[in-house]
Symmetry: C2
Subunit: 316 residues, 2 copies
Amino acid sequence: MLDLTLLGSGGGMPRVNRHLSSMIINYKGRKILIDCGEGTQVAMRKVHSGFKSIDIICITHYHGDHIFGLPGLLATIGNSHRTESITIIGPIGLKEIMEGILVMIPYLPYDLKLIECTKESLGINVSDNILEVTKEKKLNKSNLILSTIELDHSSHCLGYSIYVPRKPKFYPEKAIELGIPKEFWSRLQIGEKIQYENKIYNSDKVLGGRRKGIKLSYITDTRPMDTLLNFIAESDLFVCEGTYGDNLDIEKAIKNKHMTFEEAAELAYKSNVKELLLTHFSPSIEDPNIYKLNAKTIFNNTIIGYDGYRKKLTYN
Amino acid sequence: MLDLTLLGSGGGMPRVNRHLSSMIINYKGRKILIDCGEGTQVAMRKVHSGFKSIDIICITHYHGDHIFGLPGLLATIGNSHRTESITIIGPIGLKEIMEGILVMIPYLPYDLKLIECTKESLGINVSDNILEVTKEKKLNKSNLILSTIELDHSSHCLGYSIYVPRKPKFYPEKAIELGIPKEFWSRLQIGEKIQYENKIYNSDKVLGGRRKGIKLSYITDTRPMDTLLNFIAESDLFVCEGTYGDNLDIEKAIKNKHMTFEEAAELAYKSNVKELLLTHFSPSIEDPNIYKLNAKTIFNNTIIGYDGYRKKLTYN
């Protein structure tokens, strides 16, 4: 299960009533944060999200509205007496940016592990009670699979997806029929082969077919791209930038490498996602709800994001 | 006249209901900002203070609660299409800190002038319609005089005072009596010597004695120091840190190099300031007003600061 909260829904500059786009994802009590604009730590306090349990921070790109909250957040996590390392993932340039940031926060009681510009998907496991990127190559054995895609923005920018694999269904009646003792069932459930009384039992004898896991995708900032359709396909929740609500702002969107609500909804429609959550609204938009229909006429299952929006994603 | 607004009144970490300590000072439509913790730009929006007219930023020290808002503020000032340079003043280490910050904001449409660790007072004049540090040595001829003092904190830290000199009173009846034509009066008013019909007129013939100007002092973070008494003496407003309200927290105050309300009030009392404005409250203090008496029994003219507190300081 993923429990996620949209901490902020704004782009560009923080407004008095709207924090900058970021999302906190809770998996088994441990947290992944995506993006960290100025004020993200205050947005976290507003939704009563603790700081100490943030294990991974994913940065989409290094524009201020996505990173200026990092010095404050890292310092506040330090004040929470965390000592376990934190993994920060971001596009090319991460090391340089973090060197700049660390001039402002020279003392942290924990290490930072930096993963720059990963093109391969990463397995993430709960290890020693924190979420860590695993070196295990069989990604489906991970608790979570994190994938990235290079977006089409005015700087290097990564889109993210987080996938929670689901184990195939286990049929105890088949195991009984085959005479396999109960103590081997849990190993069969995770796909292992069992040797018992000179016989070999493959797990496929007792397991059902593949089952879809939970998929969350987070895409900001970018123009629409055809390659996104496959990347976000079948997402349970597709979090997407909708910098401009008005269809007439398409030229601004093209110039500034952003999207309109309509364009985000088209991506959602074509990629068969379950739900679209719009975010990263231009600071010039007072109330994004007035443009809701521009998205909903194309993809009905659209939510206009707001600070503090919360959702639980579970297996179907 | 100085028109000042306390943008935030918190120390350490931003709270949901309290921004971090900083103050914006308006002099003839141009602005000086003192300190810039995370969220300062949002605090400015709350009080409807524009960004483009900030000419000088004074930093007390480089702890996060005083500087983490700088990247966002400088970027937002850039978005306001300012092209005139901004002067940043701070204790030793300013250049290194700014190099770190500028990694996050590589493109600004204006220059930054850095003044590190000034021990001499600086004259500030409105020049080309912006506030700039002047090279003129006669400080009393400046619009403003900025002075600094090295404080007693856990890092290099500067206290600031801003003084608006007041011209002596001009007596037109004396000028008439001496037969000085009106076209020379304005030069006499600013202390110049006039030669007319082979006679020399010194301005002291038509001017009254010295008059006290407006004095604002801003002291955070520090332990009390005897040298502060002279530095803040006769301030119209003495803005001072009161990190701890409870007198029982004196040991914490000593350990963390901060002050209690009581200690700040003692400084105010001994230095004959007009008014004390307490700020920089510990994030653990829910409502600093409950400790008000700890200051007021020592110095009655104490104000417990709050975000958005505003005051006009005028000549008496």
